[in-house]
C-alpha cells in the first residue's frame, strides 16, 4: 500500500525551539509539498519541491525552511517556533507522470507551540 508517512502525529514544542517535521514517501514521486491547515483558512502552501535539492516558496514561507536531500524525504524546519505556528501540518506528494494527477497526503502532524 503506497503511502506518505509523517514522523509524528502530535508534537508539543516550546517557543524558540527549532522543530523538524519529517515526511517520507515510497511512491518514487518527483513532487513533494508542505501545507498547514487552520480552521477557516483552508490549506495553505508553505514550500514545495519538484526534485531532489530543489525547493520553491509557497504562499506562506516566512518562518519556515525545507530540505530535500533524497527523493523520498522532504523535511520542514521551523527555525524558531512561535505560538502562531501552532497548526496541523500536512505533507503531500505527486507524480508528474500520473495520468490521473492527484496528491497523496500523509496523516498530518498536529503541532502545538507553547
Amino acid at each position: 500500500d503506497v503511502k506518505v508517512t509523517q514522523s509524528s502525529r502530535y508534537l508539543v514544542k516550546r517557543t524558540g525551539e527549532k522543530v523538524f517535521l519529517e515526511c517520507v514517501q515510497d511512491m518514487d514521486h518527483e513532487n513533494m509539498f508542505w501545507y498547514r491547515q487552520d480552521p477557516g483558512l483552508g490549506l495553505r502552501l508553505i514550500y514545495f519541491s519538484y526534485d531532489v535539492k530543489m525547493k520553491e516558496k509557497g504562499d506562506i514561507p516566512e518562518g519556515y525552511s525545507v530540505s530535500r536531500e533524497k527523493k523520498e524525504r522532504f523535511s520542514l524546519i521551523l527555525e524558531s517556533a512561535s505560538t502562531n505556528q501552532t497548526s496541523m501540518y500536512l505533507c503531500a506528494s505527486s507524480s508528474t507522470r500520473a495520468s490521473n494527477y492527484g496528491y497523496t497526503f500523509g496523516s498530518g502532524t498536529r503541532l502545538t507551540v507553547v
Partner: protein, 111 residues
C-alpha cells in the same frame, strides 16, 4: 491569483438525504480532483476528472467537470453517516504541478 470557491461551506443533513457540493472558478484547469478529509487525518483523493463535461461515479458519489473546465460538482445520493467529513476540490492549472485548493465544504450526516 486562481481561486476555487466551494459552496456551501457547511451542510448538516439527515441520513438518506441527497446533497450537491459546488466548486467554482473563473480559471480553466487541466484537471480537477475531489478529496475527503476525516477529523485528524490527511485528505484522501476520491476522484480526478480531466475532460470537460466528464461525469464519474463512485458508488453513491457522482462527480461532474464543467464543460469549460472551470467548475465541478459532487452529488451524494442517500447520504450516510460515513460520508461525514471535509470535502475539498482542487484544480490543476495547465503546465503546473501545484494544485489550487478550494475553500472546503464540511458535511455532517446524522443518523
Amino acid at each position: 491569483t486562481q481561486l476555487l470557491e466551494q459552496s456551501p461551506q457547511f451542510l448538516s443533513i439527515q441520513e438518506g438525504e441527497n446533497l450537491t457540493v459546488y466548486c467554482n472558478s473563473s480559471s480553466v484547469f487541466s484537471s480537477l480532483q475531489w478529496y475527503r478529509q476525516e477529523p485528524g487525518e490527511g485528505p484522501v483523493l476520491l476522484v480526478t476528472v480531466v475532460t470537460g463535461g466528464e461525469v464519474k461515479k463512485l458508488k453513491r458519489l457522482t462527480f461532474q467537470f464543467g464543460d469549460a473546465r472551470k467548475d465541478s460538482s459532487l452529488h451524494i445520493t442517500a447520504a450516510q453517516p460515513g460520508d461525514t467529513g471535509l470535502y475539498l476540490c482542487a484544480g490543476k492549472p495547465t503546465g503546473f504541478q501545484k494544485l489550487v485548493f478550494g475553500t472546503g465544504t464540511r458535511l455532517l450526516v446524522s443518523p
